[in-house]
């Protein structure tokens, strides 16, 4: 077997291993970690007085999916909720100065 063929075989092996990992089902532990991260970000948005309704509803969807045992959907929703919360934090922070651009003078 040539070195080239060995290299290709190894690469394929790694690709398959990677794909297997990615396709692995999410566990309750994964959900709990993703949900806690989303909740923490939403709490930060609340402290900035700028929560979004969509963060709250997406968190609720994550919880509902987890209660039904669908941890893949639950983790996906929790990650989406975290992204929404982080966007609301960014908005609140950047608007501290940006609001002046809209002011009537």
């Amino acid at each position: 077997m040539s070195v080239e063929i060995i290299k290709i075989a190894l690469s394929l092996g790694l690709l398959v291993a990677g794909a297997t990992c990615a396709a692995a089902a999410n566990s309750e532990q994964d959900f709990k970690a993703a949900y806690a991260a989303a909740e923490a970000a939403n709490k930060e948005a609340s402290a900035l007085r700028n929560q979004w309704t969509t963060t709250t509803s997406t968190l609720a969807a994550a919880k509902k999916a987890a209660d039904g045992g669908d941890f893949d959907a639950a983790v996906a929703s929790a990650r989406e909720a975290e992204a929404l919360a982080r966007a609301s934090i960014f908005q609140a922070t950047s608007e501290k100065e940006r609001w002046k651009a809209m002011e009537i003078r």
């Binding site: 309704t53 608007e95 002011e103 009537i104 003078r105």
Partner: protein
Amino acid sequence: MNERSVIHRASATLAVLAALVAPAFAADTVDPVADARAFRKFFTDKFPKVKLEDFVNGPYSMNEDLHRQWEEKEQFPPYEFSLGMGKEMFSSPFRNGRSYQDCFPNGGIGVRQNYPYFDEKEGKVVTLELALNRCREANGEAPFSYVRDEMAALTAYMAFTSRGKPFDIKIPNDPRALDAYQKGKEYFYTRRGQLNFSCATCHVQSPGERIRAEVLAPALGILNAMPIYRSEWSSMGTTSRRFTTCNSQIRGVPLNPQDDEYRNLEYYLSYVSNGLPISGPGARP
């Protein structure tokens, strides 16, 4: 390069720098009088055909057809039942024998144009809705919901007794009052919610435009007609209801009615409409 051209270049550079620095400085200086003047000018320039006192009629001032509909609607105004209820409630005594009249200057008649005011003792803005609930609580009664029914009825009656009187909001010589005004202004222009809208997005940048089926009202005079009967709600709503529903419509979690932010916002919006007549209670599509 001769001496004169060096001086010209240096002067031009300084002029550019001054132009860049000036707006930043202006933005950080709190000047309510200048703000109110600029605010009024913005809207009267944008809508030169609208009479100043007509801005208080919101979307009806923006569109002739809507204005005609409104004039017909005023023959049998949808807020009439609420107004009657408010009048009765206002004159009925509490269980301790006192009444709302005991809590307000001039017995509460014709004073709506002076609210909100800055209470120097408390160091905060006091709105009419807040003053009404404080009056109830001081007399052993449970507070009303800030967003509808009884509160709308009471404020409708008080607004009615002030119809035609110009808004007369004062900012006392107190740094806390100026701070409350400035925070209200900041809230008005700050984008929030997933839709990334500020109050100004609709009511400064787009009055007269449609958002779905609604015609947006100009911010100038927007609180003069409060409380309002909204056909969309099929009921009356207070200023608190308007603020909280605006927030949720742009996918932001509303704050609690009468939180400091909303009180400051009402202070700012009322102040920049000083001189425009109270027209409440109003009716909106």
